[in-house]
């Protein structure tokens, strides 16, 4: 299953993404659970707002991290993984 660049990811209902100073990290909160995200996962999920497409997100991140080169593959892999974990949905 490949991820189409024009798909739009959004967080699943009941999921919340936020910065936690005490953990010095972004976290994903859901019913009775919490995942502490590493920097790259946090950077991608921060852009997931249910409005912007995968292509938009890749573009934003490539501007933010010009030294990283092309991010399409990494971002796509992560989003697919996040979908499999049932953190996000695509429309």
């Amino acid at each position: 299953m490949t991820l189409a660049m024009e798909q739009t990811p959004r967080l699943r209902p009941g999921f919340r993404f936020q910065w936690e100073p005490a953990q010095n990290a972004h976290v994903l909160l859901y019913p009775e659970g919490m995942v502490r995200l590493n920097d790259s996962a946090g950077a991608v999920l921060k852009e997931v707002d249910g409005q912007r497409t995968v292509a938009d997100i890749v573009e934003t991140l490539e501007q933010q991290f010009p030294e990283a080169g092309s991010l399409a593959e990494d971002v796509g892999d992560f989003l697919k993984d996040a979908e499999q974990q049932h953190w996000i949905l695509f429309t």
Binding site: R12, A22, L37
Partner: protein, 384 residues
């Protein structure tokens, strides 16, 4: 990319912050579940914390880094200040969970809580059919009300999380329970076999499933899981099996005073919701700040680390994995909370677990013989 990190460090070397706060708002409850985890003598509990006291606890917890907040009880809905506490919690940035029997809930309340910022409502069921459900709950109207509220929760845009406490009188219904959840459109289903503390310990013989019952149920759950995966369903089944059938104990609460902090209705601060039964003095939020309770109180430091461990845990190479198991279980089954959890096959008290398994193979007690959780029975325990 891998989304996970190691756990953070807190204010003291080796002690992380309490990331989970459980606010047991009250021990009052309209139901009488014979497996209730509340203390046997709950009816003797002193005055409940006031709204202001709870707000102070929530603020202090959030400042220390708590991110998950559970409102439970008893039945938290009996507190008229619940909407106010939800709003305060959400504004502080907590992810707020309401754990309810669904009794006393209305569609209007479900919506009002949503507006106040509640993230999730977990409705607990006793069985998949009205007769058995109502018999276990000790209430005649409970089942229909629960169904209606589960639907209202979903309609209001919350994830639907359903909880079934499993025991020998409903474990044969596993398939029916899961299919009921599927029809309701549940997102998460917790099939939680009783843990034997509080009222459940008192009623253990009448609640604990036999090994054969458990194996059938596990097979049923696994078959259902495969079907769900094939159909692409996102409904998640969480089956909590009884540790009485394990050879190693669970890593209780992820370690004493490591992640969880419970505040009981009267303000007692506990490392887990059943720790009250231990012969240890626990601090109260009326007298100390949550910060000093968590980091400095003797109660919370009592079983941190491993220097308190006697043999066989002391020289065991698995002690970092399970921390010697559950202190409450050790206390209930051996009379000394320092001992290894008897679930462990290395424990010299493991025979008590084996005896309970054997008893479960031959138990005949009906539901009507269980001791139901209500104020009259609670007073009996207090006197007794």
């Amino acid at each position: 990319m891998n989304g996970h990190h190691a756990m953070p460090a807190g204010d003291r070397p080796g002690i992380g912050p309490p990331l989970w706060l459980l606010a047991e708002l009250t021990y009052r409850c309209p139901l009488q579940c014979p497996y209730c985890s509340n203390p046997l003598d709950f009816a003797q509990t002193e005055q409940e914390l006031t709204t202001e006291e709870w707000v102070r606890v929530l603020r202090q917890g959030r400042e220390m880094g708590a991110a998950q907040l559970g409102f439970s009880g008893g039945e938290p809905l009996v507190r008229p200040d619940l909407p106010e506490l939800i709003a305060e919690a959400r504004q502080l940035g907590y992810y707020t969970n309401l754990i309810t029997s669904g009794l006393g809930l209305t569609e209007a309340k479900v919506k009002a809580f949503r507006d106040a910022g509640l993230d999730h409502i977990q409705v607990s069921f006793q069985a998949s059919d009205p007769e058995l459900n109502n018999a276990v709950a000790g209430s005649r109207k409970a089942f229909d009300q629960k169904l209606a509220m589960a639907r209202a929760v979903k309609e209001a845009g919350y994830p639907m999380v359903l909880n079934f406490v499993i025991h020998r009188h409903n474990i044969h219904q596993m398939g029916d329970i899961i299919s009921l959840c599927e029809r309701l459109g549940a997102d998460y289903v917790e099939l939680a076999t009783c843990q034997y503390y509080g009222w459940a310990f008192q009623n253990r013989e009448g609640l604990m499933p036999s090994k054969a019952q458990l194996q059938t149920a596990e097979a049923e759950v696994n078959a259902y899981r495969e079907r769900l995966a094939e159909s692409g369903s996102a409904m998640k089944l969480i089956f909590v099996t009884p540790d009485y059938y394990e050879e190693r104990p669970k890593a209780c609460m992820n370690g004493w005073g490591s992640l969880f902090l419970t505040v009981a209705p009267d303000g007692a601060a506990l490392p887990c919701h059943s720790a009250r039964l231990l012969p240890i003095e626990f601090p109260n939020v009326r007298e100390s700040s949550l910060h000093s309770i968590w980091y400095d109180s003797p109660g919370f430091n009592h079983y941190r680390g491993d220097s308190w461990m006697p043999e066989p845990c002391r020289s065991c190479d698995e002690k970092d994995k399970d921390f010697g198991g559950c202190r409450c279980q050790a206390y209930l089954l051996t009379g000394n909370a320092d001992n290894a959890d008897p679930v462990c096959s290395k424990s010299p008290h493991h025979d008590r677990i084996l005896a309970a398994r054997k008893a479960a193979d031959h138990a005949t007690a009906g539901l009507e013989e269980l001791t139901y959780r209500n104020a009259n029975n609670s007073r009996l325990f207090f006197r007794g």
